[in-house]
Symmetry: C2
Subunit: 281 residues, 2 copies
């Protein structure tokens, strides 16, 4: 079982990577596709006169400010545009794809963030109405029902709280939870970056694997949005995924390249500091 | 089994009708919700600088011109905005809803319209690249899988061709095909009109039922978009649905009102001119 997450950042060409994913499914491998849509959301937000804004936490973590109107636009971009585009591409390539958000069937159950501290012009303010959260559990039984019906599942945010509120969640971490819940061997986090760089300005400084200096070295080097990917990789590994590759979605054979180790490979057995004697399944 | 179709026209307030639908599901009745999104598509199209345009056939039938960009906007409005909004509302009301388009899992298999004749400024032109079609079959087995998993299915266009092209289809007729395929007893086509009027300018001229003058009288009175609803009602009846109510989505108890006969009721046994001795199941 393989979970592939394709980022929604600027400049990612879906054609080749969806082609390759379709090939894998047609070859009989069980695979789930998770995708983002942040660039499309930014473009749509700007066009609709509700430009994207961000929240910067006191520790420097940056996330999308998600008010009700932003969530609506978010759903249009993630669920309406990108999800249906990928489903159409897969169907045209002979794959019986079903596109769902984490809201549908409650596949991604999330907790909603309460009061969020945001640093604005040097002052810390509290935001209480943000519609964002974190995936706490995955209804893998429902995903399995779909797979047993012969469907290939294409998943995207939002997720949903226990009381039925749709929330914006990080798609990398949602993909990690999904991979763990489905007992996947491998998770690929593909985006418009080639992996974790020691020096963000030097493409030659790629950290190839957690074998080099453990997950700590990768975590220490990750900056900005890459922090979430490393966190996602660690969560997947703790959940039983053998290895996670943070790599590029670009090029003709991006999935094969990542599976072959191109990018930054996080091994489960390097990421279990809490239980050093335990062997990941 | 009940199929409710809620129109996507201007002025339809979703809250009360979704409340009522949720109540029906919580009471244990098996029901599928189908919805449109034409007004939201028009609003989004205008905001994005790609205003909606229509095709008028030589016989006067009006439909949405669906080029590639329109289909993208259509998916954002139908699948991204309205579908996820309804799913969120249902989940908040305790219903385990799953929102899907007819593209997902190939639920609505369509034929694509070939060359379309369009009357423009008095001249007839041929449009060959329109992404519109007609639902030819419904994958009711997959819908049943979802229902057996305890899910309430919320369906919306587009549909998909055999070779994987997403196409804009009429949601009333898609709902009719769905009701027939699922063996529903009843189909409600609820929208911002109260039913079929003998005189479109006189709200008092409602045709209450096909008992009055047969389906012919209803068909003869239907104008504009109402023609599709009558066609849908006839198709549902021919497919085995006992009765179809064309009624209003407005008011506090729109579903109960329609089930009680408010609107125009089309009975299967009045619509089987081709086989007058046959009794609809």
């Amino acid at each position: 079982m393989l979970v592939v997450k394709i980022g929604g950042g600027k400049g990612i060409e879906l054609g080749p990577v969806v082609d390759e994913f379709a090939e894998i499914v047609r070859d009989g491998e069980r695979a789930v596709l998770v995708h983002g849509g942040s660039h499309e959301t930014d473009v749509l937000s700007a066009a609709l006169g509700h430009p994207a804004t961000t929240i910067t936490s006191p520790s420097g973590h940056v996330s999308r400010r998600t008010d009700r109107r932003t969530l609506e636009i978010f759903c249009m971009a993630y669920c309406g545009k990108v999800n249906k585009q990928i489903v159409e591409m897969l169907r045209a390539r002979g794959v019986d794809a079903v596109g769902l958000s984490g809201l549908d069937g409650g596949i991604w159950r999330a907790s909603r963030k309460g009061a969020i501290r945001s640093v604005e012009d040097g002052r810390t303010v509290i935001i209480r109405d943000d519609l964002s959260g974190r995936v706490e559990s995955v209804d893998d039984a429902f995903v399995r029902v779909l797979m047993e019906a012969g469907k290939t599942v294409v998943l995207t945010p939002p997720a949903v709280t226990e009381d039925g509120v749709a929330v914006n969640v990080d798609a990398d971490r949602a993909a990690a939870m999904t991979a763990a819940a489905l007992g996947a061997d491998e998770l690929l986090l593909l985006s418009n970056v080639s992996g974790v760089l020691r020096d963000v300005g030097d493409p030659g400084s790629l950290i190839e694997s957690s074998r080099e200096g453990g997950v700590e070295a990768i975590r220490a080097a990750a900056a900005g949005r890459m922090k979430n990917k490393v966190l996602a990789a660690e969560e997947a590994c703790r959940g039983g995924v053998s290895r996670v590759v943070i790599g590029s979605a670009g090029g003709e054979r991006a999935i094969a390249a990542a599976r072959g180790g191109a990018g930054t490979v996080v091994w489960a057995d390097d990421s279990l500091e809490e239980a050093p004697g335990e062997v990941a399944r």
